[in-house]
């Protein structure tokens, strides 16, 4: 298991809500939906766009640049122009603290 890195408190992020954190030099988009937290690289795989600046619809985040959609739970691309998943990271909540375990494989 990788290192758990604290990013924020549960109460820091509304539900539904999203925010970007610098986690060990990687920009991570953190989502809070229906009581659960999810984390993705804050990068659209189509054009490198900042995902968390897009609109969040349920479990789908829409890239603000060209409208590519990603499932925040898995990072899977759901529509063109993105065809590749963005990296998803494990999130662990302990009490009021939210931690991210970076996926170093991708």
């Amino acid at each position: 298991m990788g290192e758990l890195i604290r990013v924020c408190r549960v109460s820091d992020l509304p539900d539904p809500g999203k925010a970007v954190f610098d986690v060990s030099g990687r920009m991570i988009a953190l989502f809070h939906v229906s009581g659960t937290f999810w984390a993705l690289d804050d990068m659209c795989t189509h054009d490198g766009g900042p995902l968390a600046e897009g609109e969040l619809h349920g479990y789908t985040i829409v890239c603000p640049r060209h409208g590519a959609q990603f499932d925040i739970r898995t990072g899977q691309a759901k529509t063109m122009p993105a065809v590749r998943a963005t990296t998803a990271h494990k999130v662990v909540v302990k009490g009021d603290e939210v931690y991210v375990e970076l996926n170093e494989e991708s």
């Binding site: 610098d22 990687r26 920009m27 990068m43 490198g48 900042p50």
Partner: protein, 438 residues
């Protein structure tokens, strides 16, 4: 390192301590002051700006770096690849942008050739020439990093070759950086009419993994008929941030062979600008890029044809492994009246992993008739059949990958006319290539 009770970071107080209150002529002080105001006024580049839309800067913390610090009492070991390989006529080593040591063949010194610290040169007899050319071609208002460089630069190097003088062996500049420090050095190279020289610049980190910052500028001025071979081998460690503005202006019949190695850095953002400012001037640009791990290397090139009968030929080749990201954005611009211009640009990329990414964006802006301008860009994977063939001849998969990658770079390596530089680049690339898993 001796402790220092001064703010030497990139702040207002740091600016006054580091750059403003130092021995220098008034014109330079005023230039710094204007640049500092621009640095303060300009926003940190962000992804809403076209040139930065593929380059992530949000994790960059400028204030963690020191713009100046005293040299340590004992100079650190400089892990240069080129010092042992290159037979030189002169050598200058800088640490954190400022001179550590230098030497030049006395016979060249007698002929008027200069290879020295830029700041020292201003104070020791070269002020008029330097004043005329310093930041004369580099636009220090271009972005926040350019302005920061113009405001904070210290040390630097100055190369001058007088009219019709030929320097036979390379002049080598090795720039070393220590952890947490910044190199904001400026390089000014002037070749007078008919002069010839080879200048090689190598960057190295003293520590293999600690973060540092380079925010530098290079100005190359070639007067009529001058010929320069210039090599810039960027080989910082993979924790260093590298921001560079580099520009060469060629007068009539001048020629430049400009080789660039983009190997190190956690994040590199470089603007390389070649201006063909006189008829029959010619520039050849060679780029060798290799990125691995999470390196992000972004190179923006401009071949600017301003006068008739000029020629530029750019070839950048890049290989990527792991989760690295290469950006190359090239432009050929031909001004009205620059007829018979011949411009070429090409960028090829070899993807050595599924998770690497490259963005290559060639461009043309042709405002004259009767020109010849072509461009191209490719990105592709290693051919599994080539790997398989090598394996059937007894090579391991890793050896096969190395062979294929070296073959990929051969086209650009063949264009580099300095043997030791070509060998160093080949060695570095071969050392870094891991097994290909397509």
């Amino acid at each position: 390192m001796p402790s220092l009770n001064l703010d030497t970071s990139f702040t207002d107080e740091g600016f006054h301590n580091v750059a403003f209150h130092r021995p220098q002529p008034n014109w330079l002080k005023e230039l710094r002051q204007r640049a500092y105001r621009t640095f303060e006024d300009l926003p940190m580049p962000n992804r809403s700006m076209e040139e930065w839309r593929r380059t992530e800067l949000r994790h960059f913390r400028l204030l963690q770096f020191q713009a100046w610090s005293p040299h340590p009492e004992q100079a650190p070991e400089i892990p240069s690849q080129l010092i042992p390989r290159l037979d030189t006529d002169g050598l200058i080593i800088t640490l954190n942008g400022r001179k550590l040591e230098s030497r030049l063949d006395p016979a060249l010194g007698q002929q008027g050739v200069v290879l020295n610290c830029l700041e020292d040169s201003i104070l020791n007899g070269w002020e008029e020439l330097i004043r005329k050319h310093l930041f004369s071609i580099l636009d220090w208002k271009y972005d926040k990093f350019a302005a920061m460089h113009a405001a904070f630069w210290t040390g630097g190097i100055f190369v001058y070759v007088p009219k019709d003088i030929r320097v036979n062996k390379p002049l080598l500049h090795v720039a070393a950086l220590m952890p947490g420090q910044a190199d904001v050095g400026h390089t000014l190279i002037i070749l007078d009419e008919g002069a010839e020289a080879t200048v090689v610049s190598e960057t190295v980190s003293v520590d293999p993994s600690a973060s540092s910052l380079y925010c530098g500028g290079i100005e190359i001025i070639l007067r009529p008929g001058a010929r320069l071979r210039y090599v810039n081998m960027q080989n910082w460690n993979q924790a260093t941030f590298h921001f560079a503005h580099q520009k060469a202006v060629l007068a009539e019949r001048a020629s430049l062979e400009w080789t660039l190695g983009a190997l190190g850095g956690r994040l590199a953002k470089v603007n390389q600008h070649l201006v063909l400012d006189g008829p029959e001037s010619e520039g050849i640009v060679n780029g060798v890029m290799f990125a691995e791990n999470r390196q992000h290397l972004a190179y923006h090139t401009l071949q600017h044809h301003r006068t008739p009968k000029t020629k530029s030929d750019l070839l950048y080749k890049g290989a990527l492994q792991d989760q690295s990201h290469l950006v190359w954005r090239g432009m050929i611009r031909v001004e009205p009246g620059a007829v018979k211009a011949d411009g070429y640009q090409r960028n090829d990329n070899l993807m050595l992993s599924e998770t690497a990414r490259t963005d290559c964006i060639p461009g043309l802006e042709i405002l004259a008739d009767d020109v010849r301008c072509t461009h191209g860009a490719t990105a592709g994977r290693v051919d599994e059949e080539e790997i398989f063939y090598c394996q059937t001849r007894g090579l391991t998969r890793r050896e096969a990958t190395r062979l294929v990658v070296t073959g990929f770079f051969q086209q650009v390596l063949d264009r580099i006319t300095i043997d030791s530089v070509r060998e160093a680049l080949t060695d570095i690339i071969q050392h870094r290539v891991r097994e290909y898993r397509g």
